[in-house]
Symmetry: C2
Subunit: 618 residues, 2 copies
């Protein structure tokens, strides 16, 4: 599985050693929405063999400037800032950022320290402004540039409605979602205003290429990254981000702990074109040397501001873990498996007090609104085993999250809700139904779920099954699981397999929902397959490098890339080749349909009717 | 992914170089049904750490004698014959086998020839006998030894009903299946008599350890193997079988083509403890040099007898591809993708005649009944792309398969039905519903289905999603797909990944159906996880070698196998460790439930009710 594309060369000056260059067979392009030449939306274009006589295939592109053909990346300088001029117009106050303290970097000493990222970064605050969050703009009836960008992006930059879109929508089963044939900026605004979609976009993250998360849009995928125990350079951490988005992660969560956590996050933010999420509780815990009961609201509050100023786009906040929920986990098979959940439960029990996150929830809202940091309300009590799925603790927390969602909306914040976990297939649907009902249709963001516990080493698959299903039912974003889940730290190959598996799940969900354009991709690759356009088949694959290398293991010669057969059946047995022969033969014979009708009219009655047979068999 | 267990040594004399020895951490054992000490049913036992204070875990074992701890395998001698004495009593006529012709081995010349398998093999025919097939015995109210064996095997050799079985059944969703808490031989008989289950068990396959395929039993998995272009030894081919069943394939299809096909099949049969399936059409086509229109009923008939005498347990017969169906494929995106289907369609068109398989279906039944070869009615018109799913061609064929099922039953044969293919998630359910209705609840045996076309290189995953779902809906056996699907020939690593992926799908389906014992395995591994019994977690994994090696990549030391944390979060952040602390703390505090009640009674009203907030947010 350790396959890298020809362009996976590590390039760039200084610290800038990250993977750059296009995915093999693809080309990054840009398109502007009608009347807005100033807004440039990226997409990935896959050109087909001239023999196909088909338009190139356009697919959604998460990878940022790194996949430009002449990518000139220097992580010291950070990425271009497509949002800078939009934000400028909104007139937020430029503020003096909070001073970085030794605790912010885990008291890293001279020898251990990762330097601060030198990329320029002015800090703004929306305090006092009437409209800061995308939710506030949306409710005020204002369409932001982010919304225009997103509409064009979701349409794969098409100016016109996709042909046959209505038929494909009707053909799907969307469980009450309302996916339009064509996404307009007004539709995006309306969905955000209704709380049914979020646009995680901190006003201090101008480098962002905006993304929408909601069940009436394409299903999104999140990948988790985090620092290693020994970090040799900041570029290594940036590379984890770059590698994840190269293969299709729509957002990335930085779950780093320990030393240099502040500075590493800065490197990631300044070099990320996708929304970055964090769990501020992890850093807060570092500041009290990892002892949960020493956590205080003041330390947590300060951490929120620290990270919001850096530009983090969404925070996981485990405010649904209340003191009264903790005893509900007592008889569980696997207790509390969320780190955040267990930290807060521990705090509640130690102090025998209500969680400070719950008690200060309105204060948290006020801070997050100031920077437009989106809530990702954490499921600290998610089940960690099949045995604990959908239990009282899990659903009690979900009800609390519903309560908190409404408070956050009232405070002007954007909200999504995190979901399980380990859930057998037949118990997945009710998670979605209950989440929609309890949380007023706020977007659901789930981890898997894993549909069995018995396959450590393959949990990208056990969870990919659940992810595809819950995505179909309405989950807006799927948090990936790698093959190393439960066992160890994912390496580069694991991250790629995890992202690709979840892109499969997300796309399978889009197809099943009847997304108006999803099947165009499947149809293009299937035509390429049927017409023996091998190069097109590889290039259209989610992972062209692996597809090509698997083919080449058996048939390495260049000539085989145009062969009208493959290694599975060989030339004599190729069903597709025979299919072509059949088609030609049939065309010769004066039209197939006619032939069929003739046959059916004159066909002999070869067998007795079913009912006679059934009675004979009894 | 190229991980082999410590016991994966290639052992044995002469040709006998196949993988032997137990799966790490497991031990093969046997158990006899009550009152039948002569019947020995294997199972795999996973012993747990003494600290667990738990019974060992018993799991279903497909692997045959190869995983015995003192396995003494010589493929020249073939396997022991557990069925020999059962078959002997039934008094079938020992016959002189059909003479092996040069065409049977693809005209292999001296230098190319694989020698015939020297293992002893008497050939029997049930011609004339009143009762030959398991279906005939079942309908006559007779419980065969195979049925007794299977009942004990499905219960994981438990003499008593599993505690809590009724609750677990009630907790599942089985879509009308009728899975009992405990499987009795009479239940097996009744299911077979109703045509709802099959026991593929050729009377010429005495080496078989009987297996049942039906939706009221554990979901089964099939793996496909086939000869390579250059075969160095018969042991290599046997090893493919042994490797597949080691990881959990319940049946194996030998899809070999070309030279030595007869002799290789003989080696496989004599060394297979699982049912072997074939597609006789492939060999028939070889006999006419790969030209479909030269096929004749006589050649096909002769091939059926040839393979039935060898002991093949089930035949894929593409009798549902009728002349009138062929034009229905004309407008498909990917035409006909089944080899058998395209061969027959080609024949029909070339001769402009009805398929000889359809015309001679009753003759085929007569032959297959004589040896109790089970029908696997092939879906020659299965969709090869999302675009073609559930189309007129596919469903027309399914209706014909329903018609043929009743004929086969009337002739005393066992029948299962093959299914698609490529199907998006929302179109999977109707495949199952329609199959049950059209085919009188005969067992469904599906390939995947693949839920998207865009991920060649990962089609074990695109199809594992569909397989888990259709298994839940009622499919009795899932045909695996490897990562090489559409691209090349699977190697050893691919076969393992394919089998494990499909074991995941089958088990996830069993869980969701509410199988009374399935969750015991999940619960055991989850308890091991929560209690930091790392060795138990690895040993209980579907693939212990991979689980252990993934863990060791980050924490290789032996001491880490008893550590109360793992590499993902480290000791400070371990949620499970904190959970244990919480549990202890709560127990100290005079009972958790009591505490919870107290809190709820006196809890402050921290927030306004939801309805007030919602109206405020509007």
């Amino acid at each position: 599985m350790d396959i890298t594309s020809k362009n996976d060369v590590i390039q760039g000056p200084g610290y800038g050693k990250v993977t750059t260059g296009p995915i093999v067979g693809s080309c990054k392009k840009w398109s502007s929405p009608p009347g807005r030449p100033d807004i440039r939306v990226p997409y990935r274009e896959i050109a087909l063999d001239p023999s196909a006589n088909e338009e190139p295939v356009r697919v959604y592109d998460t990878s940022g400037p790194y996949t430009e053909s002449d990518a000139d990346i220097d992580v010291n300088l950070g990425l271009p800032m497509p949002r800078a001029k939009w934000l400028e117009k909104r007139g937020y106050a430029r503020v003096t950022p909070r001073e970085v303290l030794p605790a912010d970097n885990g008291f890293a000493t001279e020898g251990q320290a990762v330097a601060a990222c030198p990329a320029p970064h002015d800090v703004y605050s929306g305090a006092g402004a009437t409209l800061v969050t995308q939710y506030e703009f949306a409710r005020a009836g204002i369409i932001t540039e982010e919304m225009i960008y997103i509409a064009h992006r979701e349409n794969a930059c098409r100016a016109e409605m996709v042909q046959g879109a209505e038929e494909r929508r009707a053909d799907g089963e969307d469980f009450g979602a309302e996916i339009p044939a064509f996404i307009t900026p007004e539709f995006v605004r309306d969905e955000v205003a209704r709380g049914r979609a979020v646009i995680p976009a901190n006003i201090n993250h101008p480098e962002l290429e905006p993304v929408v998360i909601g069940r009436n849009f394409l299903v999104k995928v999140n990948a988790n990254i985090g620092n290693s125990a020994v970090t040799s350079s900041a570029a290594e951490e940036v590379e984890k981000l770059v590698w994840s988005i190269r293969w299709g992660a729509d957002t990335v969560m930085d779950l780093s702990t320990g030393r240099n956590i502040h500075n590493i996050r800065d490197w990631i933010m300044r070099n990320s074109p996708v929304p970055i999420g964090t769990v501020p509780l992890y850093q807060a815990l570092e500041k009290v040397n990892g002892v949960p009961e020493k956590l205080t609201w003041e330390i947590f509050r300060d951490t929120l501001i620290e990270q919001a100023e850096q530009g983090v786009d969404y925070f996981t906040i485990h405010a649904g873990v209340r003191l009264q929920h903790v005893p509900l986990t007592a008889k569980r098979t696997t207790g509390i498996v969320s780190r955040g959940g267990s930290i807060m439960a521990s705090w509640c029990l130690a102090h025998h007090r209500e969680s400070f996150l719950y008690d200060h929830f309105e204060d948290i809202c006020d801070i997050m609104r100031q920077y437009d940091v989106t809530f990702s309300l954490g499921d600290g009590l998610r089940p960690g085993s099949i045995a604990d799925a959908n239990d009282a603790a899990q659903f009690a927390e979900l009800e609390t999250l519903g309560e908190l969602t409404k408070i956050a909306w009232a405070k002007g914040c954007q909200v999504m809700i995190e979901g399980p976990g380990h859930v057998p297939m037949h118990k997945i649907k009710v998670n979605m139904t209950k989440q929609l009902a309890e949380c007023g249709e706020a977007p659901f963001y789930t981890l898997g779920p894993l549909t069995t516990d018995i396959a450590p080493g393959y949990d990208h698959i056990t969870s990919g099954i659940g992810a595809a299903m819950i995505g179909w039912f309405g989950t807006a974003m799927l948090c990936y699981v790698t093959p190393k889940e439960h066992l160890g730290l994912p390496d580069r190959a694991d991250v790629k397999v995890g992202v690709i598996t979840y892109r499969i799940a997300a796309h399978a969900a889009d197809l099943a929902k009847g997304h108006p354009a999803a099947q165009l991709w499947d149809d293009a690759i299937s035509r390429a397959r049927f017409e023996f356009r091998w190069q097109d088949q590889f290039n259209l694959a989610l992972d062209p490098d692996t597809a090509r290398s698997f083919h080449d293991e058996t048939l390495p010669k260049e000539a085989h890339k145009t062969a009208h057969f493959c290694s599975m059946c060989g030339p004599k047995f190729c069903s597709m080749k025979i299919s072509h022969d059949i088609r030609k033969e049939a065309e010769r014979k004066d039209g197939m349909v006619q032939m069929s009708e003739t046959f059916q009219e004159h066909g002999a009655r070869l067998y007795v009717p079913q009912e006679e047979v059934v009675s004979a068999a009894k």
